[in-house]
C-alpha cells in the first residue's frame, strides 16, 4: 500500500502530477496512511447495499422483497454486500 500511495501522491518526484482520486478497499490501511494526504480530502465510503439498493438488487434477480426472511440470520448481513450477493443466492441451500 505504501508504494502505490507514494506514487499517487506524487511524492516520488517533486515535479510529478499527483492524482486527485483514490479508490481503495483497504479501509484499515487507509486510516493508517491518511496523514500522507494532509488537506482537502473528502472520503466517500461505499459499503453494503442500503435498503433502496438492496430492493433494486432483489428485483433484478426477480426475488421477493422479503427475501431476507428466506435465508439464515447470519447470512443476512452478508447478502447485502455486492461481492457476495450472487454467491449467497446461488448457495442459499448450503447456508448454515
Amino acid at each position: 500500500m505504501a508504494c502505490p500511495l507514494t506514487w499517487a501522491t506524487g511524492l516520488t518526484d517533486p515535479d510529478a502530477r499527483p492524482c486527485a482520486v483514490i479508490a481503495t478497499v483497504r479501509r484499515r490501511s487507509w486510516q493508517e496512511l491518511a496523514d500522507w494526504v494532509r488537506v482537502g480530502v473528502q472520503e466517500i465510503h461505499m459499503g453494503p447495499y442500503d435498503n433502496a439498493e438492496f430492493r433494486v438488487a432483489l428485483k433484478l434477480q426477480e426475488l421477493p422483497t422479503d427475501y431476507l426472511q428466506a435465508i439464515p440470520g447470519n447470512a443476512r448481513q452478508m447478502v447485502r454486500r455486492p461481492r457476495y450477493f450472487d454467491l449467497v443466492i446461488k448457495y442459499k441451500d448450503k447456508l448454515g
Partner: protein, 211 residues
C-alpha cells in the same frame, strides 16, 4: 518553470524557434513536459523536414493560414517595437507565404503536421481515452481484467454516486482539478473512495456455509 508555477490550464508546450533544437535539448524538454503532464510540440528550423527542408516549421505554419497571419501582422500590438521599422509591406509578406504554399510538398507537410497535432499526448484526450478503455474493459472482458464478471443487466445504481457527482462538480468549480497540475499533493482536491473493507478482510465462509 511556467507549468510548475501554477499555470494549470495549459496542456501543451510549444517551442517555436528559428534555430535547430539539438537532441539533448529536445529530450530534456520532453522529459520535463512528461513530468509535469504537458505534451511538447517543437517547431524548430528542422521540424518541417523532410517535406520542406528549406523552410523553418514556424514559417510553414504561418503560411498554412496566410490570411490569419497577415491579419495578425497588420495589427500593431503584434509587432515588436524594435523590429517594426524593418517590417516588410504586407503585400510582400503575402507573396512570400503564397510561394511557400505553392511548394510541391506543402500539402504533404500540412497533412503530416495535422497528424502530429492530433497525436499529441494531451492530458484531457488522454483521460478520455483511458476512460473509454476502462469502459470497454468493463463491458468486454471484466472477468479477465478485474476477476469478476460485469453484467449491465444486473447493475445496481449506488446512491453514493450522488456524493461523487457533488464532489466532482465542486472540485471543478473551486479548484484546479481540470488542470490537475498543482505539484503539491497537499493542495490537490482529493477524493478518497473507500470501498467495502470486506474485500481486504475476507470473511470465513465456514461462518455462513453449512458443512
Amino acid at each position: 518553470m511556467e507549468a510548475a508555477n501554477g499555470h494549470c490550464r495549459r496542456q501543451l508546450w510549444v517551442l517555436a524557434t528559428s534555430v535547430e533544437v539539438n537532441p539533448f535539448q529536445e529530450q530534456a524538454l520532453r522529459d520535463t513536459g512528461e513530468n509535469v503532464g504537458l505534451a511538447v510540440l517543437i517547431l524548430d528550423s528542422s521540424a518541417a523536414r523532410p517535406e520542406l527542408p528549406e523552410i523553418a516549421s514556424i514559417v510553414a505554419l504561418c503560411a498554412s493560414p496566410p490570411d490569419e497571419t497577415l491579419n495578425a501582422l497588420s495589427r500593431p500590438e503584434w509587432r515588436d517595437a524594435k523590429l517594426r521599422v524593418n517590417m516588410p509591406p504586407l503585400d510582400e509578406a503575402r507573396d512570400e507565404l503564397e510561394k511557400i504554399r505553392a511548394l510541391p510538398q506543402f500539402t504533404e507537410w500540412l497533412t503530416h503536421f495535422r497528424a502530429t497535432l492530433t497525436g499529441l499526448p494531451l492530458w484531457s484526450p488522454g483521460i478520455d481515452r483511458q476512460n473509454r478503455r476502462l469502459s470497454q474493459n468493463l463491458e468486454a472482458d471484466a472477468d479477465i481484467s478485474f476477476g469478476a464478471e460485469f453484467d449491465p443487466r444486473k447493475l445496481v445504481p449506488r446512491t453514493v454516486g450522488s456524493e461523487l457527482n457533488t464532489w466532482f462538480s465542486a472540485a471543478m468549480v473551486t479548484s484546479d482539478l481540470r488542470g490537475q497540475c498543482d505539484m503539491k499533493a497537499g493542495s490537490t482536491p482529493w477524493c478518497v473512495i473507500v470501498l467495502d473493507g470486506l474485500n481486504e478482510y475476507a470473511p470465513n465462509p465456514d461462518r455462513w456455509l453449512a458443512p
